[in-house]
Structure formats: C-alpha cells, structure tokens
Assembly symmetry: C3
Homo-oligomer: 451 residues x 3
C-alpha cells in the first residue's frame, strides 16, 4: 500500500469527445475517469484533481525525480513525426501554420488515415487570424494560451473564449477567426482535419483579404460579376479587394482585442456547454474521439493496445519516450529479405521495435492492435493529446498490471503458449498491482531503492 | 422596392430529392422555397409559380434582355466537361448512350467523386430501350421528352409515365426498360451512377438480346446448362439466343408504344407518389440530393458555396457562364513553380479563377467550399440540374446579398481582415438587398440605366 | 408433380449472419428458408431437414447420380482462386495458416473487396493454436472438425466448443486461441478478415511466445520497461520471453485438451446462442452476411444474380463447376483490341463467359449483378460457404424457373427485346417449374431418360 501511494507516478485523464458526443465539461472528464474503471481508487481521486486543475487553467505541480536518459531513435520508423516533417503553410512575424504531409506519403502503412491531416497553428500574443473557411471538418485542441474563437455557421456567429485543454469541433465550410488575447503567451492550436471533397486535401478560403497575402476569394471573380453581386461600383471594390494585405496572422490593437474578447469564459464545448458549431455533426456517426493524457514525471502508460482505434497524438508539453511493437514493419523488412530465397513460411509472429524520444511538438501515430508504452521524463511531466480515428467500439486492452489480458487465459493456454509451468507465468503477470499507469524504469529504480 | 421588383432577374427552385427522401411532389418543391428562407417574400411567390409551371410541363415565358457576351474559357480547368469528354457507350440510328470517364482520370482533385459516374441517354421518338440491369445505383433525371419507364424489382414490375423534370432512383440490379412515347421530341435522361461492386466501374447486363448487339447474358452460359435451367431443347434456345439483334435502342411500332404507355401520368416519385424502385435505398443514409435550377434570362446565382456537398451539375437548357475560385488549382500550379526555388511559405490564401461558358449538355463539378457564380444568358433562360454528392448536413453559404457571411463578422474582424474602416466594408456588403439570386452583369447594366 | 419430387436435385439453405444480426440458431436458419420464399413447399421441408442435420453434425446421405464431367477451366479468370494462389503464413508439422493475397493484386476488377482478406487455418488433431489477436475484424466458418475456441475481450474470456458449420464473429483486438479436440480429423477454419487500421493488411499479434516462432510482442519492448511494467526481475523475464518457441500450432497433451474442452456443446452463435464476441459489432451497420450452400449430387443453383452483394465463397466439400457472365472482362479485352482502331461504340452488351471446375478448397468471387450458375458433381454433394460483402438490401434475382425476371416483362418488351413473338419467348421462360435449384445438365439427362 505504501508502495502504491509512493509510486503513483502519474495520472491519465481520458476525455472522449467523440465527433457526435454532446456530453461536456468537467462532468465528462470525471465520468471518463470512472469509465476507465481500471484506475484504482487512489488514482481516481488524483484524476479528479487533475480534471479540476486542467480545466481551470492551473499549472500542475512539479515533482523532481531523475529521468532515465538515452533512448535510441527508432530506425525505419514511419510512426513518429518531428518538426522537420511539417510543411509550412504560412509564416509571418506574428505566427505560422504548419501542416503534416498526407500520412500515406510517409508510408503505405498509414494508408488507413490518409484522409486525415494534422496541422498546428501558432499565433503570437495580441494577434488576429483572418476569417477563413476550410473544405474539411476539423477538431481543434488548444495546446497553449488563451484566445477567442469566432465561428460563423448557418447565418449565426458564436464567439468563445478558449484556453488550454479546450476541444472544439469546426464543421467544413464554417467561417472561423481567432484572436490571441494574451499579453505574453503564444496561442498554440493543434488541428485534426478530415477533408470533405478531395480525400486527404484541404485548403483555406479567405473572404477578407485583398489582392494577395491573403488573396480574398472575392477577387477571383470578374469585376462585373462582383459589381452586380455586391451592387457596388468598381472603384470601391478595387479599394476593398485590390490592395495587398499584411498576412493571415496580423497584429491587433489593444482596443480591438478588448472588444473581441468580451465573451463568456469557459463557454466552449465540451468543457462548458455545447459547441454551437457541432450541432450538425452530432448526427453523424462518430469517427473520432480525443484523449488528453497527463503524465507525472517518471510515469509510464502501458503496455496497452487499442482494439480498433488508430491514435494520432501530439506531445503538448514535457519530454519522454515511447516504444511500440509492429509486426507490419517486421513482415515488410522480411519480405524484402525473402525475395532472394524461396522461404515464404515464417511471416507470422515477428515484430519490429519502434521507439522514439518524445519532445514537445512531436506527433505519433499508434495503429490499432499495436502494443505500446509511453514514459514521462523523470524531470518533467509529459502531456500528450491524442485524436482517435475509428474510435467507435474501441477497447483499450492492458498487457500488464491488474486485469491484463494474459491473466484471462486458462492455465493450460499459458503453459502451452509460453512453454513454462503455468504457476511461473501467472506469478509474473500478477506481480504488478497497478493498472494502466506504472512507475517507469527511471522512477522505478529509485522507488525500489526506497522500498 | 421598385428596384427589387424590377430587378428580380430569375428564380431558383431547389428540389432536394435526397437518396432516402420520400417527400414528394409540388409540395416538396414549394417547401424548398420556404426552406431556403433567405428568399424574400416576392421571390418566394415567384418560386411557387415556377414550381407550378415546372411540374405541370408549361414553358417559361421569355424575357428579352441583352446578354453579356465574350466569357473566356477557363484554362487548366478540370471542373467542366464538354461533349468531347464523353465516351460513346452505344450509338445507333435510334439513339445513343454517352458516359463520362471516371472523374479521377481527369484530375486527382476529383478523386472524392471517383466512385460516381455520369451518363446521358438519348432515345429518338417512338423507340424502345431493351431491358437491362446495372451493377450500380442510379439517379435518373428526365431532361427532355416524354417516356414510360418500367422497373422490375423484387419480383414486381412497375411502369411509370415520365416527363421532363422527373427524378427517379433505380437500385442496383433492377431490370429497367424504357420507351420514348413522343412523336417528335427526343427523350433525354441524365444519370448519376454509383457502382456497387467495382469502384467507379459499372456495366449494363442485358437479359433480352441475342448472339450480339446486344448479347443476351443467357448466351454466355453453356448450352447444356441453359437447357437444364430453362427446361427447353437446344434448338429452341438457339432460335432465342443465337441470332444477332438490332441494337440496344430500337424502333417500336405505334401499337407497341400505345400498349406500353397505358400507365398513370405523373406517377413518378418524387413528383407524384413514392418511387416503387426506391423503397430499399430509402433506408440507406442519404448520400446525395438533387437540385434543379431555373434561371431567368440575365439572372445570376451566387457567389455562394456549399459547406459539404460536391455538386455534379448538367446544363439542361439555355446558355450562360460560371466562375469559381479554386485554391487547390492555385496551390498545384504554385508547387509546380516552387520546385526550383526553396520557398515553401506562401501556399495559403491564393485562388485560381475557374470560368467557362455554359451550354446545353455541359457538365460541371463544383466541390465543397468553393465560391462560385452561375449567370444566365441575357437572351435565354438557363436550366441546370445538380446532383449533390455528400449532401447530408450541407449548408449553402451566401457570399453576397442579404445575410451574406461577411455581414456576420464583427466590425473589428472586418477592419482587420480587409484593412479598411469597418463602415466602408459594411456599406459594400450591405448594398445588395436581394438574396442568393441577383440580376447578372448584363441585365444589371440595363437595370441601372432604368434606375 | 412426379417430376418435381424426382428431380429435386439438391437443397440450398441460406444462413444470413450479417455482421450485426443477433438472430441465432436453427431458428434463423429455418427463418431464412421461409424468407427465400421462392423455395417451394417440398424443398422447404427438405431444407428444414438439412438444417437439422447440418447443425447437429450428422452426415448427409449420399445419392449416386452420374456427374457431367469435362468442364474447361476459364481463361483470363480473376474470380477463381486455387491452392496455388494462397500464401503460406505459417506451416508446421501440426498445421498451417494460408492467406489469399489482396484481391486487388489479382485484378483491378476486385478493387471493391480490396479491404477484405481470406485465410484458411488447418490444425491437426490434438493441437493448440497459440493465443493472438489481429488488427482486423473477422468472420470464422468451421469447415471441418471439432474444436474449442476461446475469446478474451473486455476483460472476460469465453470458450465455446465449435464444430462444422459454426460461424463466429471475432472483433479486432480480441485475443483468440483454439484447440482441435478431435482424435483424428483436421480442424479447418475459413476466415474472412476486414483490417481496421491499414486497408487490406492485417497481422497476428502473439502475447504468449518467446524470442521467436512465434515471438512474443512483449519481447519487442526494452527490458527495463518490461521490468517496470511487470514488476519482475530481468532474469525471470528472460526465462519467459527469451527462449525460442515451437511454433504457432503445437501439440497439446490429452490432459490439456480434456481440460480446455470442458465447455458447453453448441454454445456458439448464431447456432446456439449469442456470440459473446460479437456484442459491439452488433451496433455497426451490417456489411456482410454469410451463406452456406448444400447441393445434392447433380444439382444446380441458378442462373441467378445478386443485386448488391459481392460473394466470396469457398468450396468446403465435394466437386462441381460454375459459370458466370462478365461484361467487365469483355469490355476490358475489347478496349485492348480497340486501341488500334477508332471504334468506341460497341462497349455495351457483351459478356465473357467465366467458368471453372469447383474443387474442395477453391475460392470464388462473384460480383454484384453477374449472372452465375453453380453445379454439383453427379457423384458427390457440393458444399459451398459464401461470405457476402455489401449484403444490405441485397436481392437474389432468379433468371430461370418460377418467378424469373423475364416472366415479369410485358409481352411487347419481350417481343422487342428478343425479336421473336412474345408467345414463343414466354413459353421458353415458363418451361421450368422449379425455383432457384434445378437438376443440372448431367442429372437432367438421366432425369429425362426416366421421364
């Protein structure tokens, strides 16, 4: 018992905001804590605390524990994306928008998510992101900062003050604009997009704009058409659409920020009411859910696997590393080797270890069925937000700790499967009393020293 | 006010016949007029009138207004299909069937609709189209003429008299045949097909037929199998299936036409009862809706965009032109240029103007999110029928006129977005009092002259 | 009448076990008999008998009738798969797992089922298949033998005794293991898999295992991570995961078999209760159904076609042949020829005959809309199990016998379509009194001799 309370290395708080889930707020977050079930009493208590803190914007306390260093970077690893993998869509002195290329361009193993795109928006303090719409549905996650988001849909505008941890659904075709209303902190928003017209491709459409930078889409029409449509003389239209502009992300005045910030705090779905922007998608079948993971220093999640969902996760803060077992990579590299010889009979039952350090801004793809662990650095908490694709009926299967899947097997199956006496196998799979979340290798050593 | 009633350049009547919508008839058409909401009082009245006329087969009165001529054809335009883009599936002296190639063969930007195919059937007066089934679901639109369509499904035959404006769903595997019962007019039917077995590919399967032209599929079986299955001697089968036939579209006698035409007038769904052939698809989730647009001379629709739906539209009658803003083409041509240099930072916020004359028989693809206008010639009405793919939860977003999306933005957002005083921007976007449908450039000049 | 009872060449019993259908047991089988409707009274009686026998494991009585021999193998036939088309995933002295390559690698005509994979598992008497999970949903069909299947899902294990004819759904991520508990007979299981993460690709993930053959996925993780996760010292983990194993299919002792077989007989869904493993998929929309066909010697099914479903069928026992009319192949080979000339006008209304002998272990793909017949050998019964993809709202359309689709056409349509007097055409299509199932060519000759 003492061990458990001492070890308790981190917490994990699952927030399922399925495309189509209306449940909201703190309540949902807490509910998820229960739903996980496998989190034991003490952890659940802590999880509730985390929920409170997370969604009320407080900082997590730091605990100083040494962190196990020196993880190798994975070779042949199509599942991890660094800064250098991003394409810069736009970059100004006031911010930038970066987009990952189509996942299937990286590897054919990622073909299952080729119609999803991942982007990160960074806006400096006191800036404005010019109104635009996309030909894609999107889920936005506020990774850092405080802003105000405005969405125009069905002839109505809704503005919300948003902050770290908020998740917002934005339907395709919704006109959206944004301010960073903080004086000092950057506003960082991660977006998962699902294009609606061309698979895997989306674009930004700017109404406001000029001749360029950004161009207004109005200016793409013939001037006589614009004159007729807007019932306005050519010279005035020329003044509106004919000048170059200063960029997609621009500086706003104190007064402009002040006026555009006068909206209710915490009004964003699912953490404070229903998203006005999500009403229609609510009726679609859920294709995605999102998860927010908060790891204390030295903590470890897994090994686990998801039965159906593929997770696209971004490291929001902190450091750590992850490992995953992948049979697809193993059979790929084997079929390469095999081409010379005639062997075609040992494809089944081999894995390639995929491993990588985790650093802020990195993106991971974790496919269904693949066992993985994520470990927080021993001197920093680790925060990861995961977007789940194909999340319906997903089950998270534990491979260690209480209720791990091996403990469900018959003694005879263990004996035959492992080739050792059942008692010995059972002992090993029953040694870990925690569930899902364990003290990681670094923390564990000191933990054991203390025990 | 005077201006409004004078201008009123045309009307647009939306008929949503979603795969799966059972609402029918005139009632639905009128309902759509209301649903649009954005149509003001006077226009709604007119819209009702159009409904009445359209579905009772009357001709629209012509108004003589000059038409602005001389639109350039768009370069690099994968969204417009002319006569020359069609493949001839079959051509006889009595008619022809023409099919567009797979959309994705034209451009990868059309990959989102690659499992849809578009075909046009033309049958001369007093002809018969031989019974056949397809491995595709289809929506048929009668663009011209009067015929009788028979559908055999679930062991029952249903025959309907069909006429211009009728829309019919035909499920995959349904045996269909057709007569043109008019003495003079060609029967023209536009078909949108969605193959059910091989994506983007469908074929016609003829039961009736002979050795060839068309071949009966019975004749593909071994003769001993046919003997056993039909319990009939080989010589009689040889007489039935062994002769060449005269074609897929053949001449029928007055008497044959008379007998096959004795069905209720106006019995076709959705304009006069439920389609017997659509019962099962009714239970599927709607993937498509259809729109029928009637433009008065000199009138203009848009600029608008669809939030989710991609529209495949065919010009049924009249002339005009259209323009569309496309950022995908702009970023394609840019990434071409960019290959030499190292610039990767100005992808966002540029559009290529896509424009084309519209002539009878042309097919347009208008992807989700893309602002577009369609303008009727000043000396002819323009009729367009649009099949909407991915129409569920689609929203039509107006970019000019009352309730245009710019009028929903805060003053500060307009100021920052356009770089001009808010008052000036507001004035421009409030100058047009009409909604969706405006007098086009040609008509407008005369309109202004009169004002 | 005498003819009918004498001819009655075989029976066909349809068992629709749609992904998502909970109806179960004998009751469902019998229900399907009724649903088919087109089976006449006498056949229905017989069908009930077959149901009883099939699912109570009895052997079918044999009838000695001569079988028509000498069917040619189809040229250019992408629809038939033999032993040589399979890839061996694993092969040991105790059994093997064979997998068909992606269907779309065989022909682009099979692109519509490219996300389905087909596999066959063979396990020798008294063997054990090591626990593993797949990143694919699966439907299993027990083609031969008696075994016990264990499924671990949602923290619970369910074990079922399974036997020939049983159908089991296994959700992606479920840990499954299996024994062949028979003393003499091989256990043969056909699997249709639908990968959930990478389209068309799936892998086996073994928890139990060692360093290799199979490798345990635990062994892919760093040893310090395993130590922490399992709270166990490195040397003990090395003993568990560090040894090579003896294979995926291994010999089990009498005692192990005895203990693992102590489960209720007949407890498998849908033939004796609800599958515990199928609860979640129940809520998905049905994509597949399965059919089990039992043909008496010399019997023939068809010609028929499916309106929407593509059938993937495996010959479980017996011999026979099949024929199918395919316009896609005809137009492919024609467009090949056409490349030289300028003809583009005769694509519609031609078929290629696809034909093949049927032997145990062969796999057939029968696309929607394609007329086909299957004929049982005259000296053996023929058993085929078919997995239907895209089965929702599917209709089976008869092309011969009672209620055949030609008998629904108007006299004028028959006249025009076949170019013969309607009376003559009607006579031919009314000569066969049976429905769906007829005496085949071989049987028929003797039948006629007796008549």
């Amino acid at each position: 018992m003492m061990l458990r309370s001492k070890v308790l290395p981190f917490l994990f708080c699952l927030v399922v905001v399925a495309f189509g889930t209306k449940e909201s707020d703190l309540k949902q977050c807490k509910h998820q804590c229960k739903v996980l079930q496998q989190i034991e009493e003490y952890q659940r208590e802590k999880c509730y605390e985390i929920c409170e803190k997370l969604y009320h914007g407080e900082k997590q306390e730091k605990e100083e524990i040494n962190f196990y260093e020196g993880r190798e970077e994975g070779k042949n690893n199509p599942y991890v994306f660094n800064e250098e993998h991003f394409i810069t869509g736009i970059k100004t002195e006031h911010g930038r928008i970066r987009v990952l290329p189509k996942f299937s361009e990286r590897s054919k193993l990622l073909k299952g998510i080729e119609n999803y795109r991942f982007a990160i928006l960074e806006a400096n303090p006191k800036t404005f992101v010019v109104p635009n719409h996309w030909d894609a549905d999107a889920v936005l996650f506020v990774a850092q900062g405080r802003g105000t988001l405005s969405l125009v849909r069905k002839g109505k505008r809704n503005s919300f003050n948003i902050g770290r941890g908020d998740v917002i659904k934005v339907c395709a075709g919704t006109t959206a604009y944004l301010i960073n209303r903080d004086d000092n902190e950057k506003l960082l928003i991660a977006k998962l997009l699902r294009p609606v017209s061309t698979p895997g491709q989306f674009e930004h459409f700017f109404g406001p704009g000029g001749r360029e930078n950004p161009q207004s889409f109005y200016s793409a029409f013939s001037s006589d058409i614009l004159e007729a449509a807007l019932n306005t003389r050519k010279d005035r239209l020329q003044r509106l659409f004919g000048q170059p502009r200063e960029g997609v992300i621009i500086r706003a005045s104190e007064e402009q920020i002040r006026v555009m910030s006068q909206h209710e705090e915490g009004g964003i779905w699912p953490f404070g009411g229903e998203s006005k922007g999500s009403v229609n998608i609510y009726k679609q079948r859920p294709l995605q859910s999102n998860q927010y993971g908060q790891f204390y220093q030295g903590g470890m999640l897994g090994p686990i696997y998801s039965s159906r969902a593929t997770k696209i996760a971004v490291v929001v803060e902190g450091e750590g590393y992850f490992e995953m077992a992948c049979p697809h990579l193993a059979s790929e590299s084997e079929s390469g080797k095999r081409q010379g010889s005639k062997e075609t009979e040992t494809r089944i039952g081999r894995y390639q270890k995929v491993s990588s350090k985790l650093r802020r801004g990195m993106v991971l793809v974790i496919p269904a069925g693949h066992p993985f662990v994520a470990v927080a650095s021993t001197n920093q908490n680790l925060q990861i937000v995961g977007f789940n694709v194909n999340a319906r009926n997903n089950e998270i299967v534990p491979l260690a700790g209480r209720n791990n899947v091996m403990s469900q097997l018959e003694r005879e199956a263990l004996e035959l499967g492992f080739g050792l006496p059942a008692r010995e196998v059972e002992q090993i799979f029953q040694s870990q009393q925690e569930e899902f979340f364990f003290q990681g290798p670094g923390g564990r050593q000191s933990g054991r020293a203390a025990a």
